[in-house]
């Protein structure tokens, strides 16, 4: 019930807030951010450049596959990220991001007796909210992955805590638990506990999901 509400409310929010843009992670003004998110069924590589403190353009390549391997998709897109709102408190920060893109989708459906290939244009608007202190972290995001007759909307919720506070130039370890779902590709919610290490210019995450598959993420700003 709650999950269904979540699936309804966040897309509506995305529509309301949508401007031309993508979002999520971006670095400081005039910096590049590279990001990767890899497991068996979802592999995404992404790089963007922040042209202002709030806007970044980038390119992204994503491979998606159904749990039963009956469907596979590749998406190459141009992305835009926009920091819609930031709240700074003495010991906390919260952000609302818009993230979206447009690109070429290639798909393959392995049907009984035949294989069907197709090429379509896909659009991917979405929003992300995050809240963080030096000790706790929360993030919720929802992104539409839509093309004609295709809906692979992506929903993710993350929460975590740091094992201890650390100095600015030291590596800080975190425990992060993520639940996510890719509509039309997986019927289940993928749950992944991960260890995150944050340093000044990079962060890496690694874990094993509830299907006992490995997961690895990274971000790097330069």
């Amino acid at each position: 019930m709650i999950y269904n509400r979540f699936k309804v409310v966040l897309p509506l929010l995305a529509m309301l807030l949508s401007q031309p843009a993508t979002a999520g992670p971006m670095g400081f003004s005039e910096s590049f951010m590279a990001m990767g998110d890899f497991n068996n069924n979802w592999r995404e590589s992404f790089i963007n450049y922040a042209i202002t403190p709030r806007d970044a353009f980038g390119i992204s390549a994503t491979y998606m596959r159904a749990d039963d391997k009956s469907k596979s998709r590749t998406l190459e897109e141009i992305t835009y990220t926009r920091l819609l709102k930031r709240w700074n408190a003495p010991h906390a920060q919260a952000n609302l991001w818009f993230q979206g893109g447009i690109g070429a989708l290639q798909g393959e459906d392995k049907l009984v007796g035949e294989n069907r290939d197709f090429d379509k244009v896909m659009i991917t608007p979405g929003v992300q909210f995050d809240y963080e202190t030096t000790r706790i972290y929360f993030q919720a995001s929802h992104r539409l992955y839509r093309a004609t007759d295709i809906n692979h909307d992506y929903t993710s919720v993350r929460a975590g805590f740091s094992f201890y506070e650390s100095d600015y130039d030291k590596t800080q370890p975190w425990f992060v638990l993520e639940a996510r779902n890719m509509n039309g590709l997986s019927e289940k919610i993928e749950v992944t506990p991960m260890l995150r290490l944050i340093n000044k210019s990079f962060f890496v995450e690694a874990g094993v999901n509830n299907s006992r598959e490995p997961r690895f993420n990274f971000m790097y700003i330069f």
């Binding site: 400081f28 930031r86 506070e165 100095d167 600015y168 030291k170 340093n199 000044k200």
Partner: protein
Amino acid sequence: MKKLLLTTIVMSALLANVAFAAQTIKANVNGMVCAFCAQGIEKKMRALAQTQDVYVNLKQRIVAVELKEGQSLSDDKVKAIIKDAGYDVTSIEMSEHPVAHIKAELESKAGAKK
């Protein structure tokens, strides 16, 4: 004549101290919770011609910018850089201590609290 000589010596000593004292800007910053996100502040500050050294302390929410000898940096410029990096400056003060001293002082305070 003696008074003039004494005054000159005292003034020289004072001016010498001013000339050799470090000038460090200490800004208190809201929202600075993550090194990965706050690195923009350090990089932008280090890119300034006036900057000698930079120190960021997440726990105490402080950004310290030590200036090169004879250089100055306006509060507005410091606030603008930190604002552009995504944070809010709540106060700014000048210190005559170099960044190394401020770092040692803040880290010893943090150590004492543990």
